[in-house]
Amino acid sequence: MQPGDLIASDQGARPGSASDIAEAWAVLAEVMDPEVPVVSVVDLGIVREVDWQQGHVHLVVTPTYSGCPATEVIEDDIRQALEQAGFATPNLERRLTPAWNTDLITAQGRERLRAYGIAPPVGSSSKRSLLGESTAICCPQCNSSNTELLSQFGSTACKALYRCRDCLEPFDYFKCI
């Protein structure tokens, strides 16, 4: 590659400021998860860092599950949203470490999940409650804690399937990981 190519391909480079970072976060707060369109990538806690590197906005994104088929879609959506907001060639870095966990879902994210009909994760992912019987999961429809597990595996990798014994509605639970 000629030095000239580098310069030509990096015409969008410019110095970034604190307000650029703040604006990038604001843009990201509007990028919704394709499978749960009420929570943003910020609500989910999958954007781990935003900074400015070599003239471009730089993000660290972490997948929820190893095989999450939405990972690429989410990255494309993020890139597109940032470009539309005027950030030239955003630099997305996918990082596995430290592994994403459900503790990273924000309070707002949890409330939005509940309002959408998905019970948010209960308890802390750091506690080894994974192998024991889970604590009571409240029905997102009627808030009853009289619920039962139908299957640890639900409609997507991140969810388990529950049923409410009071209102009898089945519902998804965003399981602790």
């Binding site: 596995l96 592994a99 299957s151 639900g154």
Partner: protein, 251 residues
């Protein structure tokens, strides 16, 4: 050491990939909707983990091949998966027995790999361990339900164990590659993993009122060396058909 590491990554990645591919054969055929969802979720986790391992292997190989090329462009003799996971699904007892025997081993290996001196390995393992914790819990519950279920389900579990147990010989001991990597703090201690595996299997089989067979005997095939049973070729034929017929196809 690099060659050892590549071999090791292929073993982890190919085993996850072939187990995932086998599970996907249940798509549209599972006995209940919840089971179908669970099987596909587990399969998807494993395919994702396989991609993480194979991406790392591809980088170390550094010959221009990607993780996809490794998955879809290699022949049987180049695959390094455990023989256990290439065995046919059979009935639900066979499917769950294979899954459980693999999960119990996988869980301990990943636990150890979380402390690997290779940060990339530790990162992939930490992610995968969260997923495999759910896999093991589920398959262990199925073994108990089927083993300690009806006369019919108990008989089928005995038949399933009889059918696949001999392939567990590969879970039993480390080879030189694994020993060298373990000594360097990179790979899991596979002798330790074998002990943890047997303890887990004994515990669950006992709860399931199933006898634990005596240790499997050595036989001439070895997934680690690319010497597979006849079944792998059929899996690859299906899995690799599209990329081989339409190279570079995208969607």
């Amino acid at each position: 050491m690099n060659d050892d590491l590549i071999q090791y990554l292929l073993r982890l990645g190919d085993t996850a990939l072939i187990q995932g591919q086998r599970l996907c054969e249940w798509c549209g055929n599972a006995p209940a909707l919840e089971e179908e969802l669970a099987l596909m979720n587990v399969g998807l986790d494993l395919v994702g983990q396989a991609r993480n391992w194979l991406e790392y292997a591809a980088e170390l190989l550094n010959d221009g091949r990607t993780a996809d090329d490794l998955a879809f462009g290699r022949d049987e003799r180049s695959f390094r998966n455990l023989l256990l996971v290439e065995q046919p699904n059979g009935d639900y007892a066979v499917t769950m027995t294979k899954q459980f025997l693999y999960d119990a081993w996988h869980f301990d290996v990943l636990q150890q790999l979380c402390n690997s001196s290779d940060e990339r390995i530790a990162g992939i393992a930490a992610k995968a361990l969260k997923e495999v914790t759910y896999h093991l819990r589920r398959s262990g519950e199925w073994i108990q339900r089927l083993g300690d279920g009806t006369e019919e389900s108990h008989a089928r579990m005995l038949a399933a164990i009889e059918q696949v147990w001999r392939f567990t010989v590969e879970l039993g001991a480390a080879d030189e590659t694994e020993q060298r990597l373990a000594a360097a703090g990179i790979a899991a201690d596979h002798d330790k993993a074998a002990n943890a595996w047997l303890a887990e299997v004994t515990q669950i089989f006992t709860l399931a009122t199933l006898p634990v067979p005596s240790p499997a005997n050595y036989f001439y095939l070895s997934g680690r060396k690319g010497l597979h049973t006849e079944h792998l070729g059929f899996i690859l034929a299906e899995m690799q058909y599209l990329p081989r017929t339409y190279p570079n196809a995208t969607w």
